[in-house]
């Protein structure tokens, strides 16, 4: 019984983190899947969201900025707004150039933000991070607090999914696809390419910040390691590419699937003797990288390929053909 309860709690934790990753993957899907923008600094926007929300909600502390004790709704909104403004600035500089520049600039932004987190100890408590971050529903009795938090995450994923699906099928979404597939044609059709790109980039980054805010409250602690490019940027890319970019269901599936694989392998390797546990941790990263390469080369459309919107008259036989 005890064992079963422990497993149950483990699954709740797994699903909560998986749901947070699903938000990240959906955010990246707007940028890469729909708009064709390469964000290599997911970790930066994720960390900004985490810190903003944590600082706005924690009790006063001498070690870091805080004591505002705002409600969660305000801190979540603030996290998204701050990330959105920052994304706007990055987009203003880089979106007129090819994707490679955006990739370089976003990886740079993520690193700069890491430096700030480490150096501005008055605000962030430096490497020791912000602790005692409140968690929504934590006053509820034991399994219910975790379940309520999980429900909040999953409902958020569902709401974002519905909004994105609506957007994808709307004229806005069709313009996005047009820009990604053939920018000169979209421009010739009179679409303001720069504005649509900016919208895709900013909205994606705001979702990443929301995921960061959820993480801060879920873990009740946040440190500069939150912006680790491996777990915050790279893993999200693997999730989206494996699940199927430009497919929102694929992004969610990829997030839960890869997070389960990632956590399950960690569970396995942590039971090995110390020396081997450390070594296998690197093998795990290597294999995840290899999975990405194999999927990119052999199955570039992922598990759930993009579903193209075609006009109803042409629908039979015209679907399922994508330009990779």
């Amino acid at each position: 019984m005890e064992q079963a309860y422990g497993n149950f709690l483990y699954i709740v934790t797994l699903l909560t983190a998986g749901g947070i990753y699903a938000i990240l993957a959906l955010g990246l899907n707007i940028q890469w899947g729909f708009t064709g923008l390469f964000n290599a600094g997911i970790a930066g926007f994720y960390a900004i969201g985490a810190y903003v929300s944590a600082i706005l909600t924690t009790a006063p502390s001498v070690r870091h900025l805080g004591g505002y004790e705002m409600p969660y709704a305000v801190s979540f909104a603030a996290a998204m707004i701050v990330a959105g403004i920052l994304a706007w600035g990055v987009g203003k500089i880089c979106l007129r150039l090819r994707s490679d520049y955006l990739a370089i600039a976003t990886i740079g932004i993520a690193e700069i933000f890491r430096l700030i987190l480490k150096n501005e100890t008055w605000a962030t408590n430096g490497p020791r991070g912000v602790s005692q971050v409140p968690k929504p529903f934590e006053s509820l009795p034991e399994p219910w607090n975790a379940l309520a938090f999980l429900a909040m995450v999953l409902i958020t994923v569902a709401v974002i999914y519905i909004l994105l699906e609506t957007a994808r099928k709307s004229p806005w979404g069709r313009v996005m696809t047009a820009i990604r597939e053939n920018e000169p044609a979209a421009r010739a059709a009179g679409k303001n390419v720069a504005r649509f790109r900016m919208e895709g980039f900013v909205v994606g980054c705001m979702l990443m910040a929301l995921a960061g805010a959820f993480t801060a409250h879920n873990l009740k602690f946040i440190g500069p390691n939150v912006s680790d490019p491996l777990t915050a940027t790279f893993l999200v890319w693997v999730m989206l590419v494996v699940g199927g970019s430009a497919n929102n269901k694929g992004a969610i599936l990829g997030a839960f699937l890869m997070w389960t694989v990632w956590s399950a392998t960690e569970l396995l390797t942590s039971r090995l003797p110390d020396d081997w546990a450390i070594r296998t941790a690197y093998i795990r990263i290597f294999l995840i990288g290899l999975v990405l390469q194999i999927v990119l080369q052999k199955f570039p459309r992922g598990i759930l390929p993009e579903q193209r919107l075609t006009s109803p008259a042409k629908a039979p036989g015209a679907t399922g053909k994508t330009v990779d």
Binding site: L97, D100, L115
Partner: protein
């Protein structure tokens, strides 16, 4: 007075030139791959790390000076880079280049995790012991290793200059960087050019890694930390412009070191913790002001 100037030169100007020549070596390779294969290679930093670890291992095995084993380390790194190209980049030759960016992004983590698996994450030194600096005119102090680093870097730069200017493959590389279609039409073997690009790029990256190891120490994250300044140097110099990369590398290296000098008052102008931010700031400024770089490189 001499003390103040000495302080500026000994602790900021000379380290800036040393760091700048290391950045320059990395940036030449990056700018060539960016110009010829047309993608931002995120794994370039890890190639530098690999070069440093090969050099370290060779020093342990032979007991020679790091610069003496450097050619072997460069050769080994070139073999790895060619293998990576064959297995992971070649399948995307006909695809949009962004696929190569993702592949290189994945490669960054694969190479790093292999280095961590094989060599461990502890910091290593390639030359144990402290060397006494040479003292000139009472105030100028130059460490022998700094002379070795700058001399080696300059020698390698001249070798690249010779290669690009006078050899057939070097001319073909420049032609392909300028216009891949025209190059193909004139019968240039593009696969041979791509191979040459990886050979030069990986060899210089390995040298940069080994020289940085000689200057400071070796750790598995060193390549990732080099990535941003080297990208900044590439963009500053202009993509596809090897001479621009040299200038860009030196400017970034000097700017990073001079930013922590106490220009006004007694405190450093910029908290040394933000040194890495200097390269980024210069890069952003270039992207706004002149994305083609100082040497009128390509803008995609």
């Amino acid at each position: 007075m001499m003390d103040i100037i000495g302080d500026l030169i000994n602790f900021h100007l000379i380290p800036g030139i040393v760091l700048g020549s290391i950045y320059a070596l990395g940036a030449i390779g990056l700018t060539l791959t960016f110009g010829i294969l047309r993608f931002a290679n995120f794994a370039h930093g890890e190639i530098m790390t690999l070069g440093a670890y090969f050099a370290w291992t060779l020093v342990q095995l032979t007991g020679w000076h790091p610069v003496a084993v450097m050619p072997i380390a460069m050769g080994l790194t070139v073999l790895v880079a060619l293998g990576i190209d064959r297995g992971f980049y070649k399948p995307f030759r006909a695809s949009p280049t962004i696929m190569l960016v993702i592949a290189s992004f994945g490669m960054m983590l694969m190479v790093r995790s292999l280095v961590q698996l094989i060599w461990g994450v502890q910091i290593k030194t390639i030359m144990p012991g402290i060397q006494m600096p040479l003292v000139l005119f009472d105030w100028l102090r130059i460490s022998p290793k700094h002379i070795i680093i700058v001399t080696s870097a300059v020698a390698l730069m001249f070798a690249v200059h010779y290669l690009l200017t006078y050899t057939k493959i070097g001319k073909a590389m420049r032609a392909m960087s300028d216009s891949p279609e025209l190059a193909r039409l004139t019968g240039i073997n593009t696969e041979a050019v791509i191979r040459a690009t990886w050979i030069i790029g990986a060899a210089l990256a390995a040298a940069a890694g080994a020289l940085l190891a000689l200057d400071t120490h070796i750790q598995t994250m060193m390549g990732f930390k080099l990535l941003l300044p080297v990208f900044a140097a590439t963009i500053l110099g202009g993509i596809g412009r090897p001479y621009g990369a040299v200038v860009g590398g030196l400017v970034i290296g000097l700017a990073e070191e001079l930013s922590s000098y106490a220009w006004i008052g007694d405190t450093p102008l910029l908290n040394p913790g933000y040194k890495a931010g200097v390269a980024f700031a210069i890069m952003v400024a270039m992207l706004i002001w002149r994305p083609s770089g100082l040497f009128r490189g390509k803008v995609y």
